[in-house]
């Protein structure tokens, strides 16, 4: 029994973190946030060279065929570095959707190109989880109509995976006629969200997704774990920065980190955040290895880490005092990234609702499962 990251996983995580520290330090992130697209392309290319697009693609289609835990450690590293690149949609959800839902020829057509980095595939399935305004996708007679909000990794994509409310998945070429894209400007300038309008756009169904409605949930669960991992990485950096600042900054003739008020803020942050590592690992592991816990762990991991990372992102800024509020220090890049992750693929409230459904809370109680009540006796605590 070994619960933790393998040497390979640790080294992959370290490699990507190191790459981002060198190639995408805060000054570069600031330039990208201000609109420098060339830098984004460069960093994206560098990360492709490190293999981020091939992790989940099966070997027979030119990928590494690794399990989701590898993707989770990459996502954590990307969150640490507020990496301004596609990942969760293009290299996790899209290959999973194709591999689980696609037929042989779809897989052959797309998966090798995803693995090699030639093809970028976006994901537009927010409406399956919860449609805002009048958004929503319909599929009839080989054509897709409707509007999708908050598509992930859709900008500059070659193709898109979209879903209707029933959870069937479709593939469209982004260049098809009838598609128009609008960039949505969110607080998070490190990734791009897109609105997509579909007017009679030619689409092909991923046939397995028509038979098995569990497939879209598997794709979403993987996406949710990745978002949680990203927020975990971002929150850990914010905590590290808060501690470092508290040891550097002096007031009343002392390091502010020697005041209990500040120490306790940091202790509370780490106490909440540390178990989130194990939770992300566990949830990732469950997806392929412990199917009966997979959905529940994915939902709770997304919801719980959204809550913890929000609190950490707030408290870490408070530890920095006024400086925490400035653009100069740039803590807000992590803060905002955590803010977007929280809402994507379902806010904590929505995801917890889903967790309730998964557990059949709407059904009668199961008295066989009643816990024992030996709680008052100090000897058995």
């Amino acid at each position: 029994m070994y619960f933790g990251l393998s040497e390979e996983q640790v080294s992959l995580q370290e490699t990507i973190k190191k790459y981002l520290e060198d190639q995408a330090p805060l000054e570069v992130i600031k330039e990208i946030a201000a609109g420098d697209e060339l830098k984004t392309i460069e960093i994206h290319k560098g990360l492709l060279d490190l293999g981020i697009s091939s992790l989940l693609v099966p070997e027979e289609f030119g990928g590494l065929e690794l399990d989701l835990l590898f993707a989770a450690v990459v996502s954590t590293a990307l969150g640490s570095g507020t990496a301004p690149v596609p990942f969760i949609g293009a290299y996790v959800m899209a290959p999973l959707a194709l591999n689980l839902g696609g037929n042989r020829s779809q897989k052959e057509q797309w998966l090798p190109k995803i693995a090699s980095g030639e093809v970028l595939m976006g994901i537009a399935i927010s409406e399956f989880i919860g449609a805002r305004e009048d958004s929503g996708i319909n599929f009839k007679k080989g054509k897709v109509n409707g509007r999708a909000l908050f598509a992930i990794d859709a900008k500059n994509s070659d193709a898109l995976i979209v879903s209707n409310k029933a959870g069937q998945l479709f593939l469209v070429h982004t260049g098809s006629s009838g598609i128009s894209q609008t960039e949505l400007i969110t607080v998070d300038k490190t990734r791009i969200s897109t609105e997509i309008l579909f007017k009679d756009v030619k689409a092909e169904i991923l046939p397995e997704s028509e038979k098995d409605l569990g497939i879209i949930n598997k794709v979403i669960d993987a996406g949710r774990i990745m978002l949680a991992a990203d927020s975990l990485g971002a929150a850990q950096v914010m905590l590290d920065k808060a501690i470092a600042y508290s040891l550097e900054r002096k007031q009343f003739g002392r390091q502010i980190g020697s005041f209990q008020a500040v120490k306790h803020m940091c202790a509370e942050m780490v106490a909440e955040l540390e178990p989130c590592n194990a939770m992300v690992w566990h949830a990732s592991h469950c997806q392929e290895n412990i199917p009966h816990e997979a959905r529940l762990m994915a939902c709770h991991t997304k919801a719980h880490i959204s809550e913890v990372s929000r609190e950490v992102s707030k408290t870490a800024i408070e530890v920095h005092g006024g400086m925490g509020f400035t653009d100069e220090l740039g803590l807000h890049y992590w803060f905002k990234r955590i803010g977007l992750n929280r809402q994507l693929l379902g806010s904590p409230e929505l995801v917890r609702e889903e967790a309730a459904k998964i557990q059949n809370f709407d059904q009668a109680s199961d008295d066989d499962n009643k816990g024992n009540d030996e709680v008052g006796n100090p000897l058995v605590v």
């Binding site: 029994m1 070994y2 619960f3 933790g4 990251l5 835990l69 501690i243 508290s246 040891l247 390091q255 980190g257 020697s258 005041f259 209990q260 500040v262 120490k263 306790h264 940091c266 202790a267 509370e268 780490v270 106490a271 909440e272 540390e274 178990p275 194990a278 690992w281 566990h282 949830a283 290895n289 529940l296 762990m297 709770h300 991991t301 919801a303 719980h304 809550e307 409230e349 917890r352 967790a355 309730a356 557990q359 809370f361 709407d362 009668a364 109680s365 199961d366 008295d367 499962n369 009643k370 816990g371 024992n372 009540d373 030996e374 709680v375 008052g376 100090p378 000897l379 058995v380 605590v381």
Partner: protein, 396 residues
Amino acid sequence: MDLNYGQEYEDFRNEVQSFIKTNEKVNLHGAKLRSPERVEWQKKLIDHGYFARSIPKQYGGFGGEVDIIKTRIIAEEFAKSPIPKPLGGQGIQMLVPTLLELGNEEQKQTYIKPTLHGEMIWCQGYSEPNSGSDLASLQTKGELDGEEWVINGQKIWTSTAKFAQMCFCLVRTEPEAPKHQGISFLLIPMDSSGIEIRPIMQMTLDADFNEVFFTDVRIPKENIVGERGEGWKVANSILGHERGSLADPNVTMTRLNALINLMKDETIDGQRIIDKDSFRDRLLKIQGRVLAQQSNSLRILSGQINKDQNTSMARLITKLQGTELRHELEALAIDAMGELGTLYENSPHLRDNGSWQMSYMYFLGLIIGGGTSQIQKNIISERGLGMPKEPKVQGN
């Protein structure tokens, strides 16, 4: 990542499950400490290797190899069932490991076996009225008079003092030495003359704790573990055990399942509590936190098996997180019952013997006991995050 324990362990789990099934009728409710039923049960558990598993046979244990996974499987399976758990308490959880590590042969022979069998109950004499979080400032005095220690002073928060035959006690024997180096770890028979016990009635209306007064109490010189002045070191060698064991996530999970059932059973205007959005969301938030702590405990377990894995931070936070979460879980149960949740003792309409209120209050006690949440945060920030200690006040 490999969560398989392997066939040997699956077989072992089956064995434990079938033992539990065979013994599911055993009920020790109302059986007193040291009663023949309890001692018999305890011996049975040891004979099967479900308790005191790795403690050598000569000291009354099962004499098996240290096997963390088996220990874990036993804990998991026992937590799922209402059959009586192995006896715990400070003698078993704290004194026995201390003696195994630092006791002399005679002490091991004398004390470990009856303690494991539940025939000898211990209490812990650490805290004093003026030495709580700052435990090392303790003032209970021990002076050597010929072949005997003479002890004077007062201890507080001493649980099980009323039933205990023995007390392991921190006593200041070297008044001239710096505060951490002036303490010795003494073993005091509770029937010694000069000991007076006064129960402290607590908010649960039980009296689990006591004050213990020592007036010219005389005990043999050899009732010391370690050398004179080494008591702080002796006590600290196993302090981590207590903190980790105060809120096991597996027990919290069992409690969570009971809460889910409670919320399915209780109704307002005929609607089940679990179908009310606000209550259900609170439940789910707690469930997410319990799952996080369970994952964390798997990581800790893995760190015990794989020595190169560093889990020090994962371990440091468990007392703080576990006790706070458990308290919150019990609070939700009370809110789910509303006015009914305030019923207590043997009131009509009482649910689950009042265990939710009892446990809600009891866990507030555990948030404070064993190092308060605030002390835990000091430890986490200082030892875990490398933040500076609070500057010392002059003269302390």
